[in-house]
């Protein structure tokens, strides 16, 4: 028996894909609310530019490169799944997972240097926003990586290939969130 997410088509698209778009819609509210709060505080407190000067653009830039590259492998995995090549899709998903691991490792190294320099989540409101926004994003990266491993396991047996696209949509959204976090936290100084 095939899962409902793949066989039933509600509102013109498969139910699974519709569900992922709803997840993305609710994530827009989560990250949108957080980033909008950050922007209004930043505009109302020009001195935050001085705090932001301590963030390292090279860490942020490298992580942007990592996420953009992992998005490429996610969409190529989707392309392979469409062609019915589950093994190739799984390989590309594993590569995407590697991107998630590299991203989190860089983030851990970056936070260690910042905390050692005395900038912690309780230092001031800027650093509270910084660790909260980047931390929630990193949790999404970890969750996406775990789900991707599960999807890859079934994909390599040529099963549930539609899931490759679904995790891809989620992953690209997490990429888009970082695309906005990067200038807000690392470039605007």
């Amino acid at each position: 028996m095939r899962p409902i997410a793949n066989t039933r088509s509600a509102a013109g698209i498969p139910t699974g894909r519709l569900a992922v778009w709803w997840v993305v819609a609710s994530e827009i509210m989560i990250f949108g609310g957080l980033l909008a709060s950050y922007v209004m505080h930043r505009l109302g407190n020009p001195e935050w530019a001085g705090y932001a000067a301590h963030t390292n653009i090279w860490f942020g830039g490298t992580n942007t490169f990592v996420l953009l590259t992992s998005s490429l492998s996610a969409v190529l995995a989707h392309q392979a799944a469409e062609a019915g090549d589950g093994k190739k899709a799984a390989r590309l998903l594993y590569f995407t997972c590697l991107g998630a691991v590299v991203f989190v490792c860089i983030k851990a190294f970056e936070w260690t240097t910042e905390i050692q320099a005395g900038f912690t989540i309780t230092s001031n409101t800027f650093w509270s926003f910084y660790y909260t926004a980047a931390g929630i994003h990193a949790l999404h990266i970890i969750a996406g990586g775990v789900i991707m491993l599960i999807v890859a396991e079934s994909a390599k047996r040529n099963e549930e290939l539609h899931r490759v696209e679904l995790i891809g949509i989620y992953w690209h959204f997490v990429d888009i969130v970082w695309i906005f976090l990067f200038p807000l936290l690392y470039i605007a100084k």
């Binding site: 698209i13 778009w21 505009l43 490429l72 469409e82 019915g84 690209h172 888009i176 470039i187």
Partner: protein
């Protein structure tokens, strides 16, 4: 996979590697912008390019343009709610004084040290 394949027939021709290359070029420009030390250029290269990058990812990687229009409207509705939130709350957060009021300063209380 049949409906899955039908849905995606019109983006087989997309060169994903080329889109990725464009995204990387945009990333380099956004990093290089601040080195000119002109604030307007920094803001344009940082946030203008972020919007372009997000558009490219949504269109070509998420295939949003191939979805029914209501999916796009659903996501745009969420964005409108975010802007409404900003419009409603920002005047309070961003202003520190008004015609008849002054925002009280935040007082940081040091924790007592026990010896």
């Amino acid at each position: 996979m049949s409906d899955h394949a039908d849905h995606n027939t019109d983006h087989h021709e997309v060169n994903y590697v080329r889109i990725w290359q464009i995204l990387l070029v945009l990333l380099v420009i956004s990093i290089a912008g601040p080195f000119l030390e002109i604030q307007a250029v920094t803001l344009a290269t940082a946030f203008g390019i972020a919007i372009v990058k997000a558009y490219l990812v949504a269109k070509y990687f998420m295939h949003l343009n191939n979805e029914p229009r209501y999916v796009v409207y659903m996501l745009l509705t969420m964005l409108i709610f975010v802007f409404l939130f900003f419009a409603a709350v920002a005047p309070d957060v961003m202003n520190h004084e008004g015609a008849n009021w002054v925002k009280p300063r935040v007082v940081v209380v040091e924790a007592p040290v026990h010896h």
